[in-house]
């Protein structure tokens, strides 16, 4: 396993798709797989997939969300990123 302590999601930090994870586009969004934990996850919106893919281009997760997600939905995407962080799909 890549890390022993559970990661906490800090939106002010830079995040990106983990080296241990892969994404595959599907009609509903994408399938994500963590090669170490063998966990399969469903990203059930295209917008979330785009956000995850582009995280690396922004200084912080908050910046990425501000740039890519409309105001009323931002909390929803923040929560989604937080759960992907807990699953190890994105790393700092």
């Amino acid at each position: 396993m890549s890390s022993s302590e559970p990661p906490t999601f800090d939106a002010t930090r830079h995040w990106r798709l983990s080296d241990h994870a892969s994404l595959r586009d599907e009609s509903f969004g994408a399938l994500a797989y963590h090669h170490d934990t063998r966990r399969l996850m469903f990203l059930k919106s295209r917008a979330l997939v785009e956000l995850v893919r582009q995280l690396d281009d922004y200084a912080s997760a908050s910046d990425a969300i501000s740039a890519l997600v409309e105001e009323p939905e931002r909390d929803l995407y923040l929560a989604a990123l937080s759960s992907l962080c807990v699953s190890g799909l994105i790393s700092a």
Binding site: S22, R24, D25, E26, S27, F28, L31, Y33, H35, R38, L40, F42, K44, S45, L48
Partner: protein, 378 residues
């Protein structure tokens, strides 16, 4: 992001399968009475090493995250490690099923050194007597030796894989204890009337009562793996962990040792043959074959339409229906409400289909050195 539509989306098919099973060979040094693929003898048309490596490259380019490797006994292929190591190199994880007979100390160490590799050692009884009745004399001792070797090689959390039968459902706690002792994960799967399983299914499939007990046991133990095997039991109450749908041709498929692509690992029969990877590659079969396209159309709930639990079990397992002679529009033969038993009783004189290819050995096999070093009991 409504949860309800995800299953509908999955039933319409995916760009690539989630769960691709690849049986490397029909050769096997055991002759289990319930073998899904009627394995025993190697097929002379099996994919060559270079074809196998090319298939992995295609699997990798389709972004299939992992493959389930089985057989036959995959480790009897001389290029087994070459194939596995190539897959892992191409970032395709490997979960492979084995009877354990070829996992000596050296093989265990080599397996332990491969990232992204999961091993499932099969036993079908918590003691030699129960196991060997199904898997053959000496097979329990051989599997336990494999587990000892994996543990000694510090493989980590391997899996102990058990097909649930009428004879071993009562041993669930013993299987759990065995897994705990090894630091292993327990994986339970459903007995299908496929391959040679057709011959023993009547006598070995769990009773309705046992099915209910299994459901309760699994509901209390979400960490026990099932490969989504028991979704027909989800009609009993809260759904079991998993996708709870028949994924055949939609999220699941099988590539057999000669490159034939079937809708799922349990339907090796011409009726469910979608194509062959040798013709135009695997992606083309997965994405364009007539069979898979039709499986991705909305299915007719048939006799189950009026059942209040249809949404929970979706009529059950296609393979279980097919090989017991039931129509796709009829209930699963192990329907928890007994509708399947009634449907079966009405077909008592119907001829049941049998898996098309049969590689069963013509003479009985017994485990012998060098694969099993210690003396076998009995």
């Amino acid at each position: 992001m409504p949860e309800a539509t995800l299953r509908d989306r999955l039933e319409r098919g995916l760009a690539s399968p989630i769960c691709l099973t690849w049986e490397l060979t029909y050769a096997c040094n055991l002759s289990c009475s319930h073998c899904l693929s009627s394995s025993g003898r190697r097929d002379p048309r099996e994919l060559t090493t270079s074809e196998a490596l090319a298939l992995i490259d295609e699997i990798s380019s389709m972004k299939i995250f992992y493959i389930n490797v089985g057989g036959g006994e995959p480790m009897v292929r001389r290029d087994f490690f070459e194939i596995v190591e190539h897959a892992v190199l191409r970032r395709v994880g490997v979960k492979f099923s084995t009877n354990g007979t070829r996992i000596d100390a050296a093989a265990a160490r080599r397996l332990a050194n491969i990232d992204y590799l999961d091993v499932q050692v099969s036993i079908d009884g918590a003691d030699a007597h129960t196991n060997d009745r199904v898997r053959g004399s000496g097979s329990y001792a051989a599997a336990r030796r494999a587990m000892d070797n994996l543990q000694a090689a510090q493989f980590g959390e391997f899996k102990i894989s058990v097909v649930m039968t009428r004879e071993n459902v009562e041993q669930l706690d013993d299987f759990a204890a065995l897994a705990r002792d090894y630091g292993a994960q327990l994986r339970l799967t459903r007995l299908r009337p496929s391959g040679r399983g057709a011959d023993v299914w009547n006598d070995l499939h769990p009773t309705l009562e046992q099915g209910r007990a299994l459901y309760r046991w699994l509901s209390d133990r979400p960490n026990v793996l099932t490969g989504d095997s028991f979704f027909h039991l989800s009609a009993l109450g809260a759904p079991l962990d998993g996708l709870n749908l028949c994924g055949a041709g939609r999220v699941v498929c099988l590539i057999d040792p000669v490159g034939n692509v079937y809708a799922c690992p349990f339907v090796i029969h011409d009726e469910f043959l979608a194509g062959n990877v040798r013709d135009a590659g695997f992606a083309r079969v997965w994405r364009e074959s007539e069979l898979f396209t039709s499986l991705r159309e909305p299915q007719n709930p048939g006799a189950c339409a009026s059942c209040g639990s249809f949404d929970a079990c979706r009529g059950g397992c296609m393979a279980a229906k097919f090989f017991t002679g039931l129509e796709m529009s009829e209930p699963d033969p192990e329907c928890v409400f007994g509708h399947g038993e009634l449907a079966l009783a009405a077909k008592e004189n119907t001829r049941r289909p049998h898996s098309s290819p049969d590689h069963t050995r013509r003479v009985a096999v017994s485990l012998s050195p060098p694969h099993v070093a210690a003396k076998l009991p009995g």
